[in-house]
Amino acid sequence: MEWADFTAGRTGDLHGRAIREMTNTTNTRRDTLFDVEEMELNFGPQHPSTHGVLRLKLKVDGERIVDCYPIIGYLHRGTEKLFELHPFFQNVPHTDRLDYVAAATNNLAYVGAVEKLIGLVVPPRARYIRTILCELQRISSHLLWLATHAIDIGAMTPFFYCFREREIILDLFEEYCGARLTLNCMRPGGQPFDLPVGWGERCAEFLDDFPSKIDEYEGLLTNNRIWKKRTVGVGVLPADLAQEYGVTGPMLRASGVQWDIRKAMPYEAYGDVEFDIPVTYNGDTYDRYLVRMEEMRQSVRIVEQCLDKLPDGLIMAKSPRVLKAPKQSDAYFSIEGPKGEIGFYLVGDGTPNPHRCRVRAPSFMNLQVVPILAKDQLLADMVAVLGTTDIVLGEVDR
């Protein structure tokens, strides 16, 4: 397909317009002595740093990126359609596979939507357990992000340090629910399991140790002049643009917008614990890095408080074995996932299956700004920008 085909077909939408405006910008190099030709570069779907099967069609002028067009869909599995074919409780394993590095938050967004649709009240103990799991998941997801982001920019060692700590979190998950990655650890109405004996102590042990490990990553990166050169001022995302494109999560907060669903609309146990929302104002890659590092520290705080306050009692609400949504009902429930706002919109029609399901995937929304961030940057910045958006293709393509 030719380059023109990609822009010609999309005259109506905002995104197409943005792309076209980028393409139409006057190329000052045309007036030079030599005839300058731009090169098309296929970045992905098989490339070490596209984090999955994202394909970017780049127009490059030497090293400078003139234009960038992301092509998605290589991991499309029809998850939203699959949801319609299964009863509510059978869909939880499918949500694991959306953002496959943060399964617990996906589970929570989905079961939260089901509970809202049907009107189940989750017992407090289950709410606390969910909060603990989600915050551990946030740490593990941010660790994976840091690992890959650092290795994209060329620092190899933080990758292994991050995986060392992520392994401990995965071990905790394995002890709790029997799986390490695709957790399937929540059910509509509560939690399938209680915390195992001694789990809280092992978790607290990890949390005591973890802040010193964050210092270690920061010692390797935060003040390093090469790291700063590669990230400060790269891929600047202004706050208004971020809000226009529906960017959420650390990317939005790095642009100076204090928006976090955990604070704005507290769900589960977030209303009962104290934590801060880190915000920075430059909106560049370095700031997004700082926000995520601070978020990990705050997550440690949240989990510690939850473990202290963990109430006794039931872990599962009384509910019928087969859940049925009321006729003509709908519910949208969203939570603050590691990558941004992940939400599920469910429509019920009186049967055990959802009539329609729609996933608001943060990676998909965040990916939309990549062409804007990457424009006029160098090829090396492309991987920095792509890494800092923290996309997971399972969620983008669904």
Partner: protein
């Protein structure tokens, strides 16, 4: 020696100890095993830095890993892309490896026969324009990378080749300037002569004309890392950006040749740095009598020289690996920035200062 000459006769003796034969022996007996075990050492050290074990499957502590790697690379299918320019594609790896090995001809690994009072010369040949020879040959290596990147007919390779062209040409300038400073200090271009001058003056050139020797050494170190395409200047093969840069399309033994070239370059640059700035094969503080036990006089004097040389060399190589385990990668424009705006002016100023010092004060 003399007995050997009597046995072989003068002609045969001349050919047996001609530089060409010596290069072959040094390369195949010394450098090739050194490179393969340098790769193992790098993987092990990186492993330890990154809290893992490194290779440990082939033999005890993975000691036979390099042999297994070489066997694997030798029997792998050799793919030449359909649209590649064949002659250039085949030529490129040789252009990288060849010059890197030839440079070993002038590196003084140990003292000459005259200095130890008979016995072997612990170097291949002593050219009176040694430094020039090193610089000239090191320049050829870049052509291999450019040709390899261009002839693969792949966009990523091309970008890698272009990056390396710009990078290596930019960094050759400060490297060259910083090499001139020890020459000024020693007053000779022969590498063996420079070591001799350091022995004579009783100090490493690193500390001579303080702090200019140190600055020159730092410039050479940075430029050397950039010249050998290692972290944090490994832009031509930046894995996360250009897949594998200029050698994306290379497989099997041709890829191994690029690999060999890179590590041979590393060793050459370290060896030159050791010779020019760290006193070559001389022991530390050669003028301090109290440390004379470091000469290990129970061993042949030449061998002790070689030992000291290898020790200094391995410190250098370790620093290379350490850098790789620690630093992120520079961006292309920042690399040019560093080279042209900082290193070149700084090296010029240092050169000028040393020259002035030498003219006015000495």
């Amino acid at each position: 020696m003399q007995e050997l000459r009597d046995i072989l006769g003068p002609t045969l003796f001349y050919y047996a100890f001609s530089p060409a034969i010596k290069i072959a022996v040094v390369v195949f007996v010394g450098v090739l095993p050194l490179i393969s075990y340098l790769v193992l050492a790098e993987r092990k050290i990186l492993g330890f830095i990154q809290v893992r074990t490194g290779p440990n499957r082939v033999g005890p502590w993975g000691l036979f890993q390099p042999i297994a790697d070489i066997m694997k690379l030798l029997v792998k299918e050799d793919v030449i892309p359909n649209k590649a320019v064949k002659w250039a594609f085949v030529l490129a790896p040789c252009l990288v490896v060849g010059p890197a090995f030839v440079i070993f001809a002038v590196i003084p690994f140990g003292p000459s026969a005259a200095q130890t009072g008979g016995g072997l010369d612990y170097f291949i040949t002593d050219v009176n324009i040694g430094v020039l020879f090193v610089v000239a040959l090191a320049t050829i290596g870049v052509y291999g990378i450019i040709i390899g990147g261009w002839s693969s007919n792949s966009k990523f390779s091309l970008l890698g080749g272009l990056r390396s062209a710009a990078q290596m040409i930019s960094y050759e300038v400060p490297q060259g300037f910083s090499l001139v400073i020890p020459l000024l200090m020693a007053g000779t271009m022969s590498l063996q002569g420079i070591v001799g001058a350091q022995l004579e003056q009783g100090r490493w050139f690193l500390f001579a004309f303080f702090p200019f020797g140190l600055i020159a050494f730092m410039i050479y170190l940075i430029a050397g890392v950039a010249e050998s395409n290692r972290n944090p200047f490994d832009l031509p093969e930046a894995e996360s950006e250009l897949v594998a840069g200029f050698h994306t399309e290379y497989t099997g033994m041709r890829f191994a040749l690029f690999f060999l070239g890179e590590y041979a370059n590393m060793i050459v640059i370290s060896a030159v740095a050791v010779t020019l700035f760290l006193g070559g094969w001389a022991r530390p503080f050669p003028n301090v009598e109290a440390l004379s036990f470091l000469d290990a006089s129970f061993l042949p004097a030449g061998l002790v020289g070689v030992l000291w040389f290898s020790l200094k060399l391995s410190v250098f190589l370790f620093v290379y690996i350490w850098f790789r385990g620690t630093f992120p990668r520079y961006r292309f424009d920042q690399l040019m920035d560093l080279g042209w705006k900082w290193l070149i002016p700084l090296s010029l100023v240092t050169l000028f200062a040393v020259g002035l010092w030498k003219v006015l004060l000495l």
